[in-house]
């Protein structure tokens, strides 16, 4: 008996040792160090960083670029989930319910709905860095750009998708939506597939049109999945880095018109070597992310009680 327990303990220890060690060394310890480094003026040259308390945070909150980055993240936090979910819900509805001429189910999706889903999902498989370079070419400012070529042929002034500070942010948002929609079409389709067909048929026989089918049946029954999507897209909006860093002029430009918190962290740490300042930015970002997670959990819990 004792031997059995000893063997069990040994097994647990042996199986946990490697993953826990790796996780402590590479994940937990950097996170903890970051909070300390944020209170120093460390630039990597001295062996021991000097403790400066909350100086980095004071400088951060007086920094216009930081607030620009926060504003862009906040705008993405609202717009990315909103646009992506609306478009994805619309397509998921058309592909699964609203087609009207489904083959076997009577009230299935549109013909070819499987092919649409396969095509829409593909951008999700590509690396963000690859998508960023791809759209850099699509958005070229002259006639050689995929979008500006036809525009100029029609006699329209070319659009500075990435060179005009008023437009660049929307280009970033557009590419993010472009890449995300397919994933949520598939996610919502899976959610819709678990709703009994009878519900839609019954509603239609009672005279429900497309509109009420969508707003009265589909949306309420999919609400849980929509909430999950909202959290995922919100975190994506707060975490955005590669698309901005690779696609835009001057890594977040022109004139910081597209910069985001993650880009400023990277820039401060690895271009300016201001490790303390970058870590302070990271700490702020951490609280934004945790705050967002807590708020969305709260909201979703309240929704569930209402049900």
């Amino acid at each position: 008996m004792l031997f059995q327990r000893y063997r069990r303990g040994l097994f647990i220890t042996a199986f946990l040792a490697a993953p826990v060690t790796l996780y402590l060394v590479y994940v937990i310890s950097p996170y903890i160090q970051a909070f300390y480094i944020a209170m120093t003026d460390w630039r990597g040259v001295t062996a021991t960083p000097r403790f400066v308390g909350f100086d980095n945070f004071a400088r951060l909150f007086a920094d216009g670029i930081f607030w620009k980055a926060v504003r862009h993240n906040a705008a993405l936090l609202v717009l990315l989930p909103l646009l992506t979910i609306v478009i994805a819900l619309f397509f998921a509805f058309l592909l699964n319910v609203g087609g009207g001429n489904g083959g076997s189910g009577g009230l299935g999706g549109i013909r070819g709905s499987k092919l649409y889903r396969v095509i829409f999902f593909f951008p999700q498989v590509l690396a963000v860095a690859v998508v960023a370079v791809l759209f850099q070419q699509v958005f070229r400012p002259d006639g050689s750009g995929m979008l500006n070529g036809p525009l100029m042929a029609l006699g329209v002034e070319p659009v500075g998708f990435l060179s005009n500070p008023d437009v660049a942010f929307w280009s970033v948002l557009g590419v993010m939506v472009w890449q995300a929609v397919g994933f949520y079409v598939v996610l919502f389709s899976a959610g819709l597939a678990s709703i009994p067909r009878d519900m839609f048929e019954a509603a239609q026989i009672d005279g429900a049109g497309r509109g009420s089918l969508f707003f009265r049946i589909t949306l309420p029954l999919l609400w849980d999945t929509v909430q999950v999507a909202w959290v995922y897209l919100g975190i994506l909006a707060l975490d955005v880095f590669a698309i901005v860093w690779v696609m835009t002029d001057q890594h977040g430009g022109p004139d910081f018109s597209t910069t985001v918190m993650a880009a400023e962290i990277y820039r401060n740490a690895f271009s300016y070597f201001r490790f303390g300042y970058a870590s302070a930015l990271g700490v702020v970002m951490f609280f934004f992310t945790v705050g967002f997670a807590i708020i969305s959990l709260r909201l979703s819990r309240r929704e569930r009680i209402e049900y």
Binding site: F15, L16, I110, I119, Y266, A293
Partner: protein, 306 residues
């Protein structure tokens, strides 16, 4: 709805209903096809346009965006592969992802199994420690992580293999940062598996380790496949971590290579090679995705559906 009808009339009346419903939805049916086609064009055309540009000459690329190439410049691909080092970067990516995914799955499933199936003091704390990583932004850890990996380079014996600018170092970092999702997902999966088979094997004298590798792991196959796909794609597409940890060109992974051709090269750019490089990065994904699209969709959405 149709339960009050006799079975003989069900089939025909259903068909009529269907026809009537279709009539009501008629004109919108066309519109929804249009909407779907528009999005299809939005997804497909930029990618096809890139493929097309990859066989154009430099002059054609700077000319009209929609002109067709006069001759097919396959040499763009040779230059992308050799001079832009896409071949080297692809090989680096393959090596890193092969080891990191294998390591992630091995260590992740071991931790998940123990945490899901063996109650002991501290179990919950370990589980929460792993899963809490799901909520942290990696950017907070970025700066200290750089120095952690740098310091690993000073470890005796192993140091030169796991410091900065080493693939093994990146592999270890990938494994660690893949733990939260892998443990979270697989622990949930192991909890759903029946206990009886494993217990019977234990009675027959199998060790805990043997039960795990020969009974539980094969039973968990569907979950393992999903998470493996998730990790392969996530690690293959990773850009942020290698950007920080691999600064020597010959160590770069594919995403770094692609991003660099367009940003850093300056005026003497080889634009046609850039398009060829993009094509070389996209095409394999397209092929793999076409073959495994069902599994890939399931793998990537698995986390959100849990």
């Amino acid at each position: 709805m149709t339960t009050t009808m006799t079975s003989g009339t069900v089939a025909t009346s259903r068909r009529e209903e269907r026809r009537e419903r279709r009539k009501r939805l008629g004109p919108l049916g066309v519109l929804s096809h249009v909407a779907l086609l528009v999005w299809t064009v939005l997804v497909v055309v930029p990618i096809l346009w890139t493929f097309l540009a990859s066989v154009k000459s430099e002059d054609e690329i700077f000319g009209d965006a929609w002109s067709l190439p006069r001759t097919l410049h396959w040499d763009n691909f040779a230059r992308a592969w050799e001079q832009a080092h896409i071949g080297q970067y692809t090989l680096n990516s393959v090596v890193v992802v092969t080891f990191s995914t294998f390591g992630t799955m091995l260590l992740g499933s071991m931790a998940a199994y123990v945490l899901a199936r063996y109650p002991f003091r501290g179990n919950r704390a370990f589980y929460l420690m792993f899963v809490s990583g799901l909520a942290f932004p990696v950017y907070l850890a970025l700066t200290p992580l750089f120095f952690v990996v740098q310091n690993m380079g000073n470890v005796p014996v192993l140091g030169p293999f796991i410091g900065l600018n080493t693939h093994a170092g990146l592999v270890l970092v990938y494994i660690a940062y893949s733990m939260p999702f892998t443990v979270f997902f697989l622990a949930a999966f192991f909890r759903t598996l029946p206990t009886a088979v494993g217990e019977a094997a234990m009675v027959d004298g199998a060790s805990h380790t043997r039960v795990f590798f020969q009974i539980m792991l094969p039973m968990a196959r569907p979950g393992i496949v999903s998470v493996t796909i998730f990790n392969v794609l996530g690690q293959w597409n990773q850009y942020q971590l290698p950007l920080v940890l691999l600064q020597e060109r010959d160590k770069w992974v594919l995403t770094q290579g692609i991003a660099d051709i367009s940003t850093a090269a300056g005026y003497d750019q080889d634009w046609s090679a850039l398009f060829a490089a993009l094509t070389l990065a996209i095409l394999p994904m397209l092929v793999v995705y076409t073959i495994f699209q069902r599994q890939i969709q399931a793998g990537l959405t698995a986390g959100a559906l849990k």
